[in-house]
Point group: C2
Chain length 247, copies 2
């Protein structure tokens, strides 16, 4: 276990430790079942206090990368299902993580008055304007999902002039508007494809679709986006890791 920390960096020490161990697990340098340094050992290695080392291990535990047993130690957890931790990331990052090449075709991009449901989800008034984007999402140049997204105009002026086809939306929000994502609420449901969506996704009508309805919140708890994504069920499965007592 070699771990060198950058004490000048603005990245917190616990985040550096967490990131390095996670990287080693994902690179299979630390294999499933292998012991991770104990909290005291890790603190000694990194020259930090035990609480800091503990914070790093705790994050790994909450993400399902390791498990801890009192009196025994900390170990790398086995992944049983093919879980690409569905963290709070955008389509672009998710597809790259799965080893696919994402691309996007914009079908609609306009401003409009917020419909009541959308206004309520975004915490704005119905007379407020929203950007309405409809996008066809492709993976390796083949249709994967149809997306219907709404964002409040007042927080993101000129968003419609940005390069949405090639840049990740979440990255634009962060770099151009300084708004970082922090939390999302999701509802997943199954349905059968309507004729319009079936045509857009190049599948037969009544094929199964997975609908992911997501409302995304920023660090300061602004509702940033309300989006419904209609995934082709034959090409997409959503994966999650649940933990009890995420303390």
């Amino acid at each position: 276990m070699n771990l060198t920390l950058d004490r000048i960096s603005s990245v917190p020490l616990y985040a550096q430790i967490h990131g390095e161990i996670r990287r080693q697990i994902e690179a299979n340098q630390l294999r499933a079942g292998a012991a991770v340094p104990s909290e005291r050992e890790l603190a000694e290695i990194c020259k930090v206090s035990r609480m800091t080392a503990r914070q790093a291990l705790n994050a790994l535990k909450n993400e399902g990368f390791v498990y801890q047993e009192r009196g025994i130690g900390t170990f790398v957890a086995k992944r049983k299902l093919d879980v690409h931790t569905r963290n709070l990331i955008g389509f672009t990052e998710e597809m790259r993580g799965r080893g696919l090449t994402p691309s996007t075709k914009i079908l609609l991009a306009r401003r409009e008055k917020a419909a009541q449901e959308v206004a309520q989800e975004l915490g704005i008034e119905t007379e407020d304007e929203v950007f309405h984007f409809q996008r066809l999402r492709l993976a390796d140049d083949s249709p994967l999902a149809f997306e219907d997204a709404f964002l409040p105009v007042k927080h993101f002026p000129d968003l419609d002039t940005k390069n949405l086809e090639n840049e990740s939306l979440y990255k634009i929000l962060e770099t151009d508007y300084g708004v970082a994502m922090r939390r999302a609420e999701e509802i997943l449901e199954a349905t059968c494809a309507s004729k319009e969506i079936a045509r857009a996704l190049a599948i037969k009508p009544k094929s199964a679709l997975l609908i992911v309805h997501r409302v995304v919140f920023s660090e300061s708890n602004l509702a940033v986006e309300s989006v419904r994504t209609f995934y082709r069920a034959d090409r997409y499965r959503a994966t999650f890791v649940l933990t009890k007592n995420a303390v």
Copy 2:
């Protein structure tokens, strides 16, 4: 904000604080947007150190109940979607949380040799035995889901003699075998109902179904259960809260 802690109890102080604030939020005594006591205030109120108060607030933040802004304070988060936090709970608890009355009809309960996929998911050998349960799950006496579950025999001897129709499986595992759930991996996908499942769920063939494939792990990282649940899409939607940096 009144908060009385039981210092004799084996429940950790941070968990008591967390539970009490969560209860107040869920009972709407703390409304969306309302300020929660600051970390230092909370520590003062409860006569604990700031780190302990912080741990309680951190858990609430990770669950999406509150958000924190540096320099400002801690506030109750608005729920936009109708999110019943899909924590790591069983069918029985989940339905009760949604205000429905759960019931179960056992269609199959037997021991068998583990199929290869199941053995791999549970981390056992193919010659090992598993319990194989098929259950029809009802909510308010109407079919909601069909469930196909596998559990390793060696960890739960005589499980098939327990009262599975009326008791929560997870509760039995905890009280009778001392095995508490800690983590689960889930894959969600959409499909169309086969004839058999359609008949069991009293829907038309080719209706949409939501399949939740879950592998559950105990505190000591034993794979405890591998289960596929086929939900009627017209009666069930899965909800999640995602957070970035669950530290």
